[in-house]
């Protein structure tokens, strides 16, 4: 492959700048989360303290972090799993031409376009007409799927695009059933992409605001709760929440990375070739 010539360093620099750009708000949030007890959400800093991190675990004046956080995490994870399964399955189907495929494709596109707020309202009304109470785990879950599935599906298109069918044929020639082919051939090859779809699904659902607005029922998800809190005086505790989220994410990723490396070293030492297929 490419040697580490000037192009490599140029691109690395570009990537670093891009990451810096992505982290612009995050850096601001991190700095401001160390505001003194009387500090606000903007500069100037009024002292430096850990006050707001402690405050994060106390009762807020308005709203409640822990309940809404739990709801959002559960909803995000369930949405993630369902998104991966459904879009993978649909991705397999879309490799063949079938009647109605164009309609479903354009529905997926429509799902991206129709303003979230109207989908939200529409689903809310639908539940009312059906006489079912809206809730974050039913109507909001459905609403989130209409957002994550089009992404999942289209990314599956990019993933299956030019997927080498010879692997499948080889598996079939070796007597594998279609189920075995999927399980032992397609899934391992596509695993990184599937993780990517899952990541997308979780991130989109966890941060979804408009689609939850009229579908979440009585209890708020985290984005709704935070928005509700901004209708009163908010404090740098919001930033503390951001900093803790970012910190924890880094920690989890670092741990995962270290354990992967350790596992891989061990395997290499034991001369096992398992896991190299991908």
């Amino acid at each position: 492959m490419h040697r580490r010539g000037p192009a490599f360093w140029l691109l690395t620099g570009f990537f670093a700048l891009f990451v810096l750009f992505l982290y612009g708000p995050t850096i601001t949030i991190t700095i401001l989360s160390f505001q003194g007890p009387s500090g606000g959400l903007t500069f100037p800093m009024r002292g430096v303290s850990l006050h707001w991190f402690g405050n994060l675990f106390e009762k807020q004046m308005v709203g409640d972090f822990s309940g809404s956080f739990q709801r959002s995490i559960v909803l995000g994870l369930v949405t993630m799993v369902v998104t991966v399964l459904v879009s993978f399955s649909a991705g397999l189907a879309f490799r063949k031409r079938f009647r109605g495929s164009a309609a479903i494709f354009y529905l997926a596109i429509a799902s991206l376009i129709v303003p979230s707020i109207l989908i939200s309202l529409g689903i809310g009304l639908l539940f009312r007409v059906m006489g079912v109470d809206t809730a974050w785990y039913s109507s909001a879950f459905g609403a989130h799927l209409t957002w994550t599935l089009p992404f999942g599906l289209l990314i599956m298109f990019a993933v299956f695009n030019r997927f080498d069918r010879r692997y499948e044929e080889a598996a079939r020639d070796l007597g594998a059933t279609s189920w075995q082919t999927v399980k032992h051939v397609i899934v391992p090859i596509l695993l990184p992409s599937l993780i990517g779809v899952g990541l997308f699904g979780f991130t989109l659902s966890y941060d979804e605001f408009a689609r939850s607005l009229y579908t979440a029922g009585t209890f708020n998800t985290l984005p709704l709760e935070i928005y509700g809190m901004t209708t009163n005086v908010t404090t740098p505790v919001l930033y503390a929440l951001g900093t803790v989220t970012t910190g924890l994410s880094f920690l989890v990723i670092a741990l995962a990375l270290v354990s992967t490396i350790i596992v891989r070293r061990r395997r290499e030492r034991h001369g096992s070739d398992a896991g190299k297929a991908a």
């Binding site: 612009g24 990019a158 993933v159 951001g242």
Partner: protein, 284 residues
């Protein structure tokens, strides 16, 4: 055999169709129906009127707003494509191990796990008059007065869009690139193609489906946006989504619905044209 295959295909696509049918088709149908309703200050009256559409389409404000939204969309699309392609290219061809690719993707995703509402608030202390950016530039002596256009301007709207949506471009393009056979690139090099020629004549064409998918993401999201544009322009720039929100806030659902239908048709048309150029399903 054929029969069974067809059944399997339908079974595979059934869950997706079911979700769309229940949570998408019904709401869209409702929106279409409501768009013909009449409304007054206090109520919505079931009717079949074209008035909502007439008021919408005959008003120069609508055209102006759609143009503004289109302008944002095109600028954002071009920028995210340029940046997204470069980033994807780097990740796909210069980062060697799958582990590192995953890690770098995660690093790019982490900022998005802090709620967007919090991030949006933080743009003020970042780009504002007394913000981090202006302070840094002032201290470095690059400017002598705080730059005002950094916040609450068209610039800041586009900046936020690029910030939010570049990854939507990176992911599909990256996936397309990963499917390109490395032997193909070696063949190109052996045939005497320069790096640029390989990029232009081999990689780019093979990434078309990924680019098309990423473009669909970016175009559709920006066209329907109302949050970013309101917050980043300080409420001073219009967007189609914002128009709808203004109507909805006064419970004028029929007007909002008519606008949604027009927007939906417009974007479907755009995507249809894009699909003419690149059939993303052809090479599945």
């Amino acid at each position: 055999m054929r029969r069974v295959d067809a059944w399997v295909t339908y079974l595979q696509v059934a869950p997706l169709s079911l979700v769309f049918l229940l949570f998408l088709v019904v709401p869209i149908a409702t929106i279409v129906v409501v768009s013909f309703f009449d409304y007054s200050t206090t109520q919505i009256i079931p009717a079949f009127l074209l008035q909502n559409y007439e008021e919408l389409l005959l008003s120069p404000v609508t055209w102006q707003t759609y143009l503004q939204t289109l302008e944002f969309t095109v600028i954002t699309w071009a920028l995210t494509l340029a940046i997204g392609f470069t980033i994807a290219y780097y990740l796909a061809f210069y980062v060697r191990s799958a582990t590192w690719q995953t890690v770098l993707f995660l690093v790019c995703t982490i900022p998005f796990w802090t709620s967007n509402i919090i991030r949006m608030i933080s743009w003020i202390p970042f780009l504002g008059r007394n913000g981090l950016m202006n302070t840094a530039l002032l201290k470095m002596g690059l400017i002598h007065e705080p730059l005002e256009f950094l916040l609450f301007s068209d610039f800041s709207v586009v900046l936020a869009y690029v910030h939010l949506y570049t990854l939507f471009m990176v992911v599909p393009i990256f996936n397309s690139m990963m499917r390109i056979e490395r032997s193909l690139l070696e063949a190109a090099r052996d045939a005497g193609a320069s790096g640029w020629q390989t990029l232009w004549n081999v990689i780019l064409p093979l990434c078309k489906p990924g680019i098309a998918i990423g473009s669909i993401f970016v175009v559709t999201i920006v066209m329907g946006d109302f949050v970013t544009v309101r917050l980043m322009s300080g409420g001073q720039t219009a967007s189609v989504g914002l128009m709808m929100m203004n109507a909805m806030s006064l419970l004028q659902y029929p007007a909002a619905a008519a606008n949604a239908v027009v927007l939906l048709l417009l974007v479907l048309l755009t995507v249809g044209v894009m699909m003419r150029l690149v059939d993303i399903r052809k090479e599945l």
